[in-house]
């Protein structure tokens, strides 16, 4: 049983705190509590924010209370052995790794003392777990990048990073859904529109895995055109799903 505690943040918010670490098992438990609260339509819960080691729960105190929610969450955690066994969703995201779209590609390769080809192979060779969403709509904090290429973020952040840019910051990796300032080392770009204000539903959520699939310039253009015409959907692989319900 994992150690955890509750903290009441204000009249209508609480935080469940687990040990401060970046740990897939711990985070999966947090994601599961969040999903359970949503799926059970827990009375009075107005919104949840899972993060690396915390879960923020906002509630309406006319409908529920801190004590009531503590009991509910305790119960979810007790039954969580069942939950964590459910399978994983891997979402394939095409990325064009090139100096044109990845201004830090060569620097990171130099940092790791490897070729750009090897860097691409290493970065795209791992399935990354989405620990949390934050900073921007659809900005996924993912890990963990192979230690060898885990270059720290830029000393001075860039004023503008193009939407779709894929980058790393130490052991973290992620993509910029919209144009934004940022300090992550950019390795490439996905042709897929990750955030569209007209249709803001996101293509992935925390608890999912992202698998970067290297593509070339031609494929980049092809997918970009399909995506613009709304004829492209990301490939989702369901793995080891033992939840038959």
């Amino acid at each position: 049983m994992m150690d955890y505690s509750y903290f009441q943040v204000n009249e209508q918010s609480l935080e469940v705190e687990f040990p401060e670490q970046i740990n897939v098992e711990e985070n999966k438990l947090i994601q599961n509590i969040a999903r359970e609260l949503i799926e059970q339509k827990a009375v009075g819960v107005t919104g949840v924010i899972p993060a690396y080691h915390t879960l923020t729960v906002n509630f309406d105190f006319d409908l529920t209370s801190f004590k009531e929610l503590v009991n509910q969450i305790d119960e979810i955690i007790v039954n969580s052995n069942e939950l964590t066994k459910t399978g994983r969703s891997i979402i394939e995201l095409p990325v064009f790794y090139s100096p044109k779209y990845g201004p830090d590609l060569e620097d990171v390769a130099k940092f790791a003392s490897i070729s750009v080809e090897e860097l691409i192979k290493l970065h795209s060779g791992t399935d990354y777990f989405i620990y949390m969403m934050g900073f921007l709509p659809g900005f996924a904090y993912m890990g963990s990048v192979p230690e060898k290429i885990a270059m720290p973020r830029l000393e001075v952040p860039r004023k503008s990073i193009a939407p779709g840019s894929v980058g790393i910051a130490g052991a973290q990796t992620g993509m910029y859904p919209v144009e934004s300032p940022g300090g992550w080392r950019i390795l490439g770009r996905t042709p897929v529109k990750l955030y569209d204000p007209a249709r803001p539903q996101l293509k992935y959520r925390s608890g999912d895995y992202i698998r970067f699939v290297p593509i070339d310039a031609e494929e980049y253009r092809r997918i970009q055109q399909l995506d613009a015409a709304d004829k492209y959907s990301l490939k989702v692989i369901k793995e080891g799903d033992i939840d038959n319900g």
């Binding site: 009441q8 204000n10 690396y52 105190f61 934050g134 900073f135 996101l202």
Partner: protein
Amino acid sequence: MANFVRVIQPGLSTTVQDLGRPNHQIEGFPESGAMDRFSYKLANLLVNNHRNSASLEFVSTGPTLRFACDSFIALTGGKVNATLNDQPILQNEVVEVAEGSILKIGPVIEGNYGYLAFSNGGVITQPVLDSRSTTLRTKMGGLDGRALETGDTIPIRDSVVMPSLSSRKIVIKSEKVTEIHFVKGPHWEMFSKKTQEQFQSEIYQISEQMDRMGYRLNGPKLEVPKKSLLSEGTVLGNIQITRDGSPIALLADRQTTGGYPVIGTIIRADLNRFVQMKQGQQFKFVLTDIDTAVEKLVQQQKVINDTFEKWYAGRYIEPIGPIRRNAIKISRLIRANK
């Protein structure tokens, strides 16, 4: 009759707001929604709307609008000298508006944010992710994710029905705010005893960096804990201490997660007063506990609920407002024949 209001002058940054989309913070969408929730709810109550009906929120300078249909409106929040067809109108009470009327709100004289609610369901733009609230940063909700512009049409419903019309008013005392209450934040214990005390004894001032995301505060810099933190979910009213030791209060459009230590959280009952403080205004942070914070919020909501119940109970006592569609037309005919 067309059911909209036309924007003649948009004001500084007028947006459609309701209670926001707290259920989409899990995907990284800011909660958004009205900055001053008390004034926002009051405006809806005055015009007999659901508490989550969308209104117009204006800041510093309000819009000028022409009504293409009949409506009842209420203006709450920051103090303005509004006129309807060049005649002054009062805030915090229902005002009947006939088709063709021009409402001019003008500058906000006290406070920052004002609310304009329309009867019969408020502004009825298409909801985006369960809310009509505008988030300018993500270009989402309201009118194409942006502030009002001259010539825009804002969809509302025609409305000539308002029960207990004449009693729909409330007196809101304006008060000088010098204290803002807070409860201990998740990282309170990370700060030294000295810093905790300093935070409560110093005088803080609203800086010029103030918007819907948050207000940065000027004042003596606090000592920041050395330890760096993993990002955590944010809560409305969180007071973060940034790397240079100055506090930022996180407000409606805040990022959903943050990595700065949170020393405290402004209590909900004081948040409305806090967002209405002007640049340069000074105040002190005063520590309280959750039970007191809950009690204060309940008391504040009670004011609204009691008022509503009084109106509801009195809806058949003279003078009765227009409660049928034809009531206004009939009363106009009677007036015309006098």
